[in-house]
Assembly symmetry: C2
Homo-oligomer: 340 residues x 2
Amino acid sequence: MKKYVILFVVTAFFVTVSCKNENSQTASSEKYQSDPLPSWNEGKSKASIITYVNDVTNSESPNFIPVSERIATFDNDGNLWSEQPAYFQLFFAIDRVKEMAAAHPEWKTQQPFKAVLENDMAELAKQGEHGLIQLVMATHAGVTTDEFDADVKNWIATAKHPTKNVGFNELVYQPMLELLQYLRANDFKTYVVSGGGVDFMRAFVTEIYGIPEEQILGSRIKTAFDYNNGNPVIKRLPELDFIDDKEGKPLNIQKIIGKKPVFSSGNSDGDLQMMQWAASNKYKSFMLYVHHTDEVREWAYDRESHIGRLDKGLDQANNNGWTIIDMKTDWKVIYPFELK
Amino acid sequence: MKKYVILFVVTAFFVTVSCKNENSQTASSEKYQSDPLPSWNEGKSKASIITYVNDVTNSESPNFIPVSERIATFDNDGNLWSEQPAYFQLFFAIDRVKEMAAAHPEWKTQQPFKAVLENDMAELAKQGEHGLIQLVMATHAGVTTDEFDADVKNWIATAKHPTKNVGFNELVYQPMLELLQYLRANDFKTYVVSGGGVDFMRAFVTEIYGIPEEQILGSRIKTAFDYNNGNPVIKRLPELDFIDDKEGKPLNIQKIIGKKPVFSSGNSDGDLQMMQWAASNKYKSFMLYVHHTDEVREWAYDRESHIGRLDKGLDQANNNGWTIIDMKTDWKVIYPFELK
């Protein structure tokens, strides 16, 4: 939950130019059968991934990694799906405030809710981090885990991205879906390790990414168990429990997975500590940064961005020889709908 | 971390009568091939387990459970291994204090360390919960996760139970090992969900239970990431982070697994909320309580015990028709070494 998210949500509501890609390419089914990464252009990034996987899964190789240690961790926002003009979870919070407003007449005069209801993003920005947390708590807490799950499922089924005009769940990266599948086919256990809310993600990403709920790590709020006369529920409380970002990523990986990743993929400085942790693995590890370079098909941003800033991470990736995906040249397509 | 643990550690040091079982039975290898639970006597407990598994894995059954939802959670202390005369992790803490004492001359005069070093368990008991937490923090924190892992591995390799005179890792329940294996053979994902320390367990139980580190949930202390000039470490801090007991069990299951168990096994009131949570599953679920009834081969205790008290849980199990293992009559053997 970052202060600057608010500043950028302004853009989300007023940008009207669609960046919809007109240059989609469809790989032939023949190609899919022979190439594990058909949406990737041939080049250094693709070659380095395939060389790594072939090496560490070859039992004759000195770099062979036992199956139980093949832990692959992926950031979500900006790494598996887009994150502009604001983290998609913020659109959920805003849409929920509007849905819930009828039951909360006081919100008409109470900030930050008033600003949301009036689409006054300049005012919302002024509410700062405190206002953002109020929005999140009002929309993510005060319900049971089952109720929240239903809220997210209902939202994702209909919500549209403000400029792409497709569902947020369609804005996942086709090349990364192929990479996840390729790693799993080679007995890697794929995880999401995101600063986003873990229960928000679990409500819908399993189906898209092929990653079960128990392999999704994220930020979370506190909860309480209520026996509820034999119909127990877990209630979501309006208090932060853990922020799965920066140092939080390796800490959460250690707490929950208990093993150091051998493959780690991210796109921002918030992923850097996870990368450093993977890079220190005694097994040969692979660090992959997605560099957002495609202002036509997706968005272009890095060192100066308030969302998904990639600055120190880019330096360390360059210095240490980590693989950096140039989205513009490395990826044939960005989104799955381009294949249709 | 319970106050009463201290009271019982007194017993650990002075009980000298060995309860070593002389009545071990060896099942023939022929029996093992045809019977998934060869160390279980025929009876209601065994039959109910097999009937349940056959039912919910039968795709023609109205009770069929999809593989992704076959989550089985097992308490550890008193459920997968013994827990008398004190939780085994406490013996680790005591042994570590003795090992570390040379580097801590101040402990000779400082409680609760003085009591441990002088084997003065009456005095240790007087130190109460505060003293116990001091012991735990001195022996479980102040090191990196790798160092702690090595500490536990070194300890378990040589430490002996005070009365059974075998390694603590030999005091696991053979019938439960078979049950874990049987469930996995039927595509259940088996988890440990214990009040014990998660990193303590991860150091050695994977090999014994066949449960990977990422499927072990437990209590934990706080941690910090240190980049350490390119050799990052995670440091263990002397502060509790989460107690995975009572309400903590369903909360931790929801946080980490994100799914309600369909099969849950425990032995104490500390497991009751986990049982209640599983019992509320929309899929047909199975609740299994281990009742310690065998004072000859193991220990006999329930409603009045300070370690592993089973009181409210026993009532609810009886009322709700949950399966209760009568250790004395249901299990042919208790420990794997009885089969040798």
